[in-house]
């Protein structure tokens, strides 16, 4: 079964003092992969500047605006149409011998291959005392452990907006046990990596039709590498394995690898940012 989606991303910036030159780089275009296919994309901006497509260091499509004329307000809008395939996350057979998988996870070539998603970053480093927060049970398969971890993280953090930001590190989250999708994802990544499972932070859109948690912004979830299966998405905010409602844009080691907007602005004074996301599903 196929799902057709229309996604609207809109960002507004207001600057107190005029901006003389600025670059914005948006990382909001859904990627093409085995479960999703981008059909059309449309960008508009309120300032008189061209919108260029490019590819960032980790290989994801960006849209860039370079504005050389002074302005105080800028609006950027993107509209994407894509189809998403029905995903059955359980479409595989569990391994007969779990120990082979754990052996693989701890083998040097494997750890070298997935080095980037096994190392800790400033946003995903667990304090020493919390390293045993969740231990994988070797008697169960890696996948089963990941499902359990997903549920664990879901129950560990209470969804609450406005208490954390994109710079919040794990000690704060572990202490307050509150946060939003990126906090769930950072903690999930950290715990998975401690258990030797490669984990990557995914930034994307969530179709909220079914009453999932999230807000009118971009969503985040985790992809874990499971031997013999590959990368599987886990949305611990909603205690789900990622499915057709999850539209992926980019992945990285943590939030810093995939913020939706990077801006270099030559101006002084404050600025106010507002952005909204709308995901619509056509039957």
């Amino acid at each position: 079964m196929k799902y057709d989606y229309t996604i609207k991303y809109r960002s507004e910036n207001h600057y107190e003092t005029p901006v003389f030159e600025a670059y914005w780089q948006f990382l909001v275009t859904p990627e093409n992969n085995s479960t999703q296919k981008l059909i059309t994309e449309k960008f508009t901006t309120s300032v008189n500047a061209r919108i260029e497509e490019s590819v960032n260091g980790l290989g994801f499509t960006t849209s860039r605006i370079h504005c050389k004329k002074p302005f105080k307000d800028i609006v950027f809008e993107a509209e994407f149409k894509l189809t998403k395939r029905e995903v059955n996350p359980f479409d595989f057979t569990l391994p007969l011998d779990n120990s082979l998988d754990y052996e693989l996870l701890s083998s040097l070539p494997f750890r070298v291959e997935f080095e980037a998603y096994l190392k800790n970053t400033a946003l995903t480093i667990l304090p020493k005392i919390s390293e045993d927060l969740f231990k994988f049970e070797q008697s169960k398969s890696v996948f089963e452990n990941c499902i359990a971890l997903n549920t664990f993280i879901h129950n560990f953090i209470t969804f609450k907006t406005g208490v954390t930001n994109t710079n919040t590190t794990l000690p704060t989250i572990l202490e307050n046990k509150e946060g939003v999708c990126q906090d769930y994802t950072h903690l999930m990544c950290a715990v998975a990596r401690v258990n030797q499972v490669p984990a990557r932070y995914v930034s994307g859109y969530l179709h909220q039709g079914d009453g999932f948690l999230g807000d009118m912004q971009m969503h985040a979830w985790t992809e874990l590498y499971i031997p013999e299966i590959g990368w599987v998405g886990f949305d611990s905010t909603n205690n789900l394995v990622a499915n057709h409602n999850h539209i992926k844009v980019a992945h990285g080691k943590d939030y810093n690898d995939c913020p939706p907007l990077k801006g270099i602005v030559y101006s002084s004074g404050n600025n106010f940012t507002k952005y909204t996301v709308e995901v619509n599903h056509q039957q």
Partner: protein
């Protein structure tokens, strides 16, 4: 005191036997290569030398061959002190050095290609995974990129010393933005001006061919599809401590010296802003650090970079020299694996020796280091410019304790090496108005290009001017000497 004191300027030369003296052998005789020079200098009084020294200093100052020192609250403009007694290296000795540094550069280049592709050397357990995964200089964005000609470290600066055993040892490989080559050329010029007569008696290699070779190397790694590439040097600006060198290189190569704000990226091509409009740039010899190159890809607070540069690079529309991410291989911890790296990629024995290194990240080594600090030099793994180095036998008990604490906190950050005794060279000391022994090292410059390589026949001999001091960096009170490579007879 040496025997040969007929020469007044050597009358107070105190020769310590434990050290390797570049000029006098163990019997206090002048070594062969220096005989003629020594004879010529004997005709000069210490006052003559004083005057020549002042004049040479004035030349450097007037030409603005200066650098800024940061350690004080206020940046100061200082000249890099220049010594009038050149260092001479004979042809056979040089041959080994040249082969050795080229071997290292090539091995490091293959290592860089490997760590940004299959990482075979790590998968096979020869170099520990930790060295790349915990290195802040390892750039994930470089994975899978194939720079033109397969070259990463186009320009390498290798630091060598001569130990008391008479052998050269490599101290470190600098493959981010090695500096100092402009001083090699300026020192030669200054010595020619001051003592042109002595050049008639020696047949030495020129150093002026560096510029043309560098240009050839830079042009050889042009992006695909470009006929005659536009090459530029990018500098952080006039307040950078090495600005003189950046402008000197641009001038002698004959290419544009740009700052980040002079460049912009459009459709993944790089352009410079000229008075007649935008002009495409194909090769960038960068003298700014990786993380400052592109605020959209790396540090967003970089005001000296070019937004979008990395995407242009990734697409192959511009070449960055040295490639981003080379820093992972000049990490001091990687240095200690150099013999293995050379064997692994080149199937050769290392030509130049490595100093034995203790890794504080290894438990056994850490234990040894903590117990033997007084016999070791402790270095942070990723600091350049001689900052943060402790020399064990110069520390008080109190200081040793402090160092121990610092290492224990972050063992991964430190390595230790036995205290090498750098060779000494006669150096004119202003305050004494005569020559004294001072420790020296040697920085060589190696270029790698597409189907081409070059080692500068010369180098920067750096002198630790403070008596007994082993640190030769300019920011720590070091000076330099002209370095002569003799031609084969």
């Amino acid at each position: 005191m040496i025997k040969n004191t007929a020469n007044p300027i050597f009358s107070s030369y105190e020769k310590k036997d434990a050290l390797y003296d570049e000029i006098f052998d163990e019997n206090d005789e002048v070594r062969d290569v220096y005989k003629k020079l020594f004879e010529l200098y004997s005709g000069l009084s210490s006052n003559d030398f004083g005057t020549l020294n002042e004049k040479a200093k004035a030349t450097f100052f007037n030409q603005g061959i200066t650098f800024q020192v940061y350690s004080d609250a206020k940046a100061q403009e200082k000249i890099f002190p220049f010594d009038l007694f050149p260092r001479i290296i004979d042809a056979t000795e040089w041959e080994t050095i040249e082969k050795g540094v080229l071997q290292r550069s090539k091995a490091l280049n293959l290592f860089l290609h490997d760590v940004y592709h299959d990482k075979k050397i790590i998968k096979e357990g020869i170099v520990p995974l930790d060295l790349i995964s915990s290195s802040s200089n390892y750039l994930q964005s470089m994975m899978g990129i194939d720079p033109p000609g397969g070259i990463y470290n186009h320009i390498s600066g290798t630091d060598l010393i001569k130990h008391s055993d008479g052998h050269y040892y490599v101290l470190e490989d600098n493959i981010r933005c090695p500096s100092g080559v402009s001083y090699v050329m300026c020192n030669r010029n200054a010595l020619k001006k001051a003592l042109f007569g002595v050049f008639n008696h020696y047949d030495i290699h020129t150093v002026t061919d560096y510029a043309e070779n560098l240009l050839e190397i830079l042009e050889s790694v042009k992006p695909n599809g470009v006929d005659i590439p536009t090459v530029v040097v990018i500098t952080p600006g006039i307040y950078n401590s090495a600005y003189y060198e950046h402008s000197y290189l641009a001038k002698t190569i004959g290419i544009e010296l740009v700052e980040g704000r002079d460049l912009f990226v459009e459709n993944d091509f790089v352009y410079m802003k000229t008075i007649s409009g935008p002009k495409r740039v194909d090769v960038i010899y960068r003298r700014i650090d990786d993380t400052f190159l592109d605020p959209l890809e790396f540090r967003s607070d970089s005001a000296i970079g070019v937004p979008g540069l990395f995407a242009a690079y990734k697409k192959g529309n511009v070449t960055i020299v040295n490639a981003p991410g080379t820093g992972v291989a000049d990490d001091k911890a990687i240095y200690t694996y150099m013999p293995d790296i050379i064997k692994y990629y080149l199937d050769e024995e290392p030509i130049l020796k490595n100093v034995h290194t203790y890794h504080c990240s290894r438990e056994d080594d850490l234990k040894y280091v903590l117990e033997n600090i007084d016999k070791l030099v402790i270095k942070p793994v990723d600091e350049a410019g001689g900052y943060g180095i402790s020399i064990g036998n110069k520390l008080t008990k109190e200081e040793i304790k402090q160092v121990q604490e610092v290492i224990k906190k972050e063992p991964r950050k430190y390595i230790a090496q036995p205290i090498m005794s750098l060779s000494v060279h006669a150096t004119f000391i202003e305050d004494e108005n005569s020559f004294e022994q001072r420790h020296v090292d040697l920085r060589t410059f190696t270029l790698l290009g597409n189907q081409k390589d070059f080692v500068l026949k010369g180098g920067l001999t750096r002198v630790a001017l403070k008596k007994g001091n082993l640190i030769v960096n300019s920011s720590q009170g070091g000076g330099s000497k002209d370095t002569w490579i003799l031609k084969n007879k």
